[in-house]
Symmetry: C2
Amino acid sequence: MRRVTIGVFDSGVGGLTVLRELVARIPDADYLYFGDTARLPYGSKSRETIAKYAVSATKFLEERGAELLVIACNTASALALDAITDAANIGVVGVVEPGAESAAAATRRNKVLVIGTEATIKSHAYQHALEKRGVQVCEKACPLFVPLIEEGWLEHPVTQQVAHVYLDDVFQDFESGPDVLVLGCTHYPLIKPLLRSVAPWRVEIVDSAEATARCVAEGLRIAPPKTSEGAERRKPARMKFFATDSVEKFRSLGERFMGHALEDVQHVDMG
Amino acid sequence: MRRVTIGVFDSGVGGLTVLRELVARIPDADYLYFGDTARLPYGSKSRETIAKYAVSATKFLEERGAELLVIACNTASALALDAITDAANIGVVGVVEPGAESAAAATRRNKVLVIGTEATIKSHAYQHALEKRGVQVCEKACPLFVPLIEEGWLEHPVTQQVAHVYLDDVFQDFESGPDVLVLGCTHYPLIKPLLRSVAPWRVEIVDSAEATARCVAEGLRIAPPKTSEGAERRKPARMKFFATDSVEKFRSLGERFMGHALEDVQHVDMG
């Protein structure tokens, strides 16, 4: 496989959970991560605004050499994937389709619960993607999870209580309810253990970040270029980060999502 | 008093609590409200980014005829008041100084607790304003209050629990602790009853929104123009709203803060 440069785009640091999964599966690549922290959160904004922001980020990453673009933001994937694909000259992968595919494969009852931000849920992007695959869908917006995660309350009783408020109704009818829970927001993997304790034990948790990384890895393996560049391949993943707000804030919050320090972070002014 | 046009600026709908207080005190005026909803929240952004956004909003309101500008955003007042004042050709009033003045007048123990967003608290703007007045200050960032309020959980047990997590430590030493609590964020008046129940009963709650409106009203009365325009004066307050994100979202969330429907809302694209 030729060494590729993969652009990863998110409204903030949440997409780092996707980057982490990508690096684990495709270590022999270069990564450009763009976090639009000056304009986050996208989750409560309109389709037009999100599309405009996402397209400007796409162009930025392309200019910097991205050969493949991963939209590691559920809201942007749900609301602006068409706009991004139209504007881009390279392949674009969102998180919704891989997440839906993974959930459809996992459900035995053909019933799935999708949780995400207000904008992702209102778009019904997961619902459409799952219904296409013959799966019944419940959707639930959980707008407090992102601020709770950014506050660092990953195992806090308050976060647990909020999860119960959001999810208990859906899981009440244990026998006929959904048997798969889709984490339709890249922040949510950080509270996966907590959600594991709140959801009934028979419910499988599908993480869109993981599903997307798997999908990208498979896609790259399916069509490997014929030239072998063995020497270059063994170099570890190189990562460059671009943030539209403070570099320090991106670094300190980002470490929690990435699991290690972020070396090369640059500020970008998108005007 | 001549009928004036007052510009009110906030990152979103929170500043409507200031507008509400202004209209109650100065009904014979025209109001232009600018909510930068496409770029909110300011509370977690850097000084440079906030100043840039606030200055562009200032210029917009001036061009539309504002003769006096109220920065109804604690974060922008705390971090960008100098930048705004430099850029503006009209008088500028922030919420920090009036809030601090009101708190200094209320405290008998000379100890005040200020709560606000992360950026407001980190700026220490209230601390500086209060120390100038010889008052001791504790500061506490409460980043979860805004999302809880926007979720509509104004009296929810979760909000109560979060308030206890944030405030109990400070109020633990009841005898020597602060006797005034300053609401250093324009969202917080909506949970004033809840905060009333969490804080010890002897603690007085000072609302910066109210203090600012009082300050503006007094300022206008101190220097009334000599021409009398009695007829025009009796017209009720006229309000125009500008939002950088979806008009529908601004309307639906804004009603809760304003206490009534918002008629004239226009979308503005700040590029």
